[in-house]
Symmetry: C2
Subunit: 315 residues, 2 copies
């Protein structure tokens, strides 16, 4: 995006062998990206049929990966290993996507730590558990950092890199180098907050969207149309602060805040605080008719997403 | 956008002569769009030097208009008329962009009403005043409806069409026809709520963005990077409901709400409620360094915006 050129020349900063733990939707998408970037991937997942299911998911990612210029021989460097110790033994990087349970992850990373050398980079895709808590059973908690992707990781650039209290700064530096070499846009957070940044912003936005549907101002489809024809277009090219900076004219954000801040605060006071009670879930579910199957919609979204990313990468 | 083809063949549904009241940033941008679509425009603005200033602003819009395929002979069909009665006398449409003061707009629309025939479509760009209130001094309040653009109107497709309590349904229908013929994406709101839809969603999003900067989780520039590399890209192609519908897998939005709703509500409870007090404004203003002049940033944003719109219009 915007001029970042992924390392397709093999210079992956010494990261060649990646172990993906948990081959659900996120794990399979990471696997597709890693393979497409020329890395060797070992998938660890105890579920029966994982190899076939993963290969099916990889096939689905091929058009997207091909469209953004990646090679597509996705199963050349892929193997499956159900034993966790063997799966991580020679890994340069571990990207974990297991169940979102603290006890599970604590135990898992303690075992991974014992089965790997000190230089193996340990990354968790968790969206809800802090690295500080996750590392509590490790002897070297400095080795673990969160690398939380925005779904699907093979397509959307953002990765939130969230260190725990004991994460070694060098682990953060190496995680950023790894994701950057993959062509991703890593963003390091300075504090461990629930939901990190993107999901918090999304939650705030969705809360008011729910409120406007509940109040009968617009339908779900109408909100979606409003967003794709205004804020989405805008925020694909300039984030909220830059947008308001430009909204302030020559005086920029300081002028904007001084002159339009009070009106903004009036709106803040008027925003809704809906809950997802049974009646609201029923209302929202009842409007959820998007005119095609989820699979068709997803395919159309990904194609459009790729067109937008290519448009922005031209500069 | 997405296959909408503006009426460039002259079939503007009988809307040929437009009067733009108030030639500030919004009024000039509307003027550029109307002229580019082949309409005849009369600008009414009492400020001295308005003709020169408007022509300067139109020149700035030319690259954007040319890039999205419009003709650029922008001052062929443009005239200036300082007398409000004369300015609107033969108008098919009036698009008002005057000061955001209720008494001013009430008086203005009462005068416009007297100076125009009953078929002249009366539209206000207001972002903050309800049509119900604005029409109170009119004898035919049914003729007035809000047509609130997302800035800049010559570039961003959304127009929020917000009827007042007494707005005639036929006025709403004609406003939608007019904006659609211009290639815009009009969205009719069912209720008059402060900030309408887009600004409320934007305010909710910005409130949490401010909170995350105040809490020291990320800087302004980092938030902007997070947004352009994830949510912005996503929402340019699929709005929040469709996105969560796809996030629910084959079960769609109902599945998503049942299974991830509680986690979402946890985040809602954790969102910040900052104020724009002096210290916060100082903090935010202090970080407002975007590495270029506002004019340069705006030009870069508009160019990127056009590339994104073209990418999405290809389907």
């Amino acid at each position: 995006m915007n001029g970042t050129s992924p390392a397709t020349d093999g210079t992956m900063d010494g990261f060649q062998r990646v172990t993906v733990i948990g081959a659900g939707v996120i794990g399979a998408s990471w696997t597709a990206l890693f393979l497409a970037r020329g890395l060797t991937v070992t998938v660890n997942d105890p579920l029966p049929g994982v190899a076939q299911r993963t290969r099916d998911q990889l096939r689905q990612a091929v058009p997207a990966l091909r469209a953004i210029g990646l090679r597509d021989g996705l199963d050349r460097d892929l193997r499956f290993e159900a034993d966790i110790g063997k799966a991580v033994a020679d890994a340069d990087v571990v990207q974990e996507n297991g169940p979102e349970r603290l006890d599970f992850k604590q135990d898992l990373f303690a075992r991974i730590e014992r089965a790997t050398g000190p230089d193996t980079l340990l990354l968790s895709s968790t969206s809800g558990i802090r690295a500080t808590a996750m590392a509590q059973a490790m002897t070297q908690p400095g080795r673990l950092v969160i690398g939380h992707p925005f779904n699907p990781p093979h397509l959307v650039p953002l990765v939130e890199v969230v260190p725990g209290e004991q994460t070694d700064p060098d682990t953060v530096r190496r995680a950023v180098a790894f994701y950057t070499a993959l062509g991703k846009k890593p963003q390091v957070l300075r504090k461990e907050v629930p939901g990190f940044v993107a999901n918090r912003l999304q939650a705030a936005f969705f809360r008011e969207a729910v409120n406007l549907v509940v109040q009968g101002v617009v339908t779900e489809q109408e909100i979606d149309d409003v967003v794709t024809s205004s804020l989405g277009l805008r925020w694909a090219v300039a984030g909220p602060f830059r947008s308001f900076h430009l909204g302030g004219g020559p005086g920029g954000l300081p002028y904007f805040l001084q002159h339009l801040g009070p009106a903004l605060e009036d709106l803040w006071r008027d925003l809704g605080t809906p809950t997802l009670d049974a009646a609201t879930v029923e209302l929202l579910s009842g409007q959820a008719d998007f005119g095609a199957t989820v699979e068709e919609l997803e395919s159309a979204r990904d194609e459009a997403q790729i067109r937008v990313m290519r448009a922005l990468g031209e500069d």
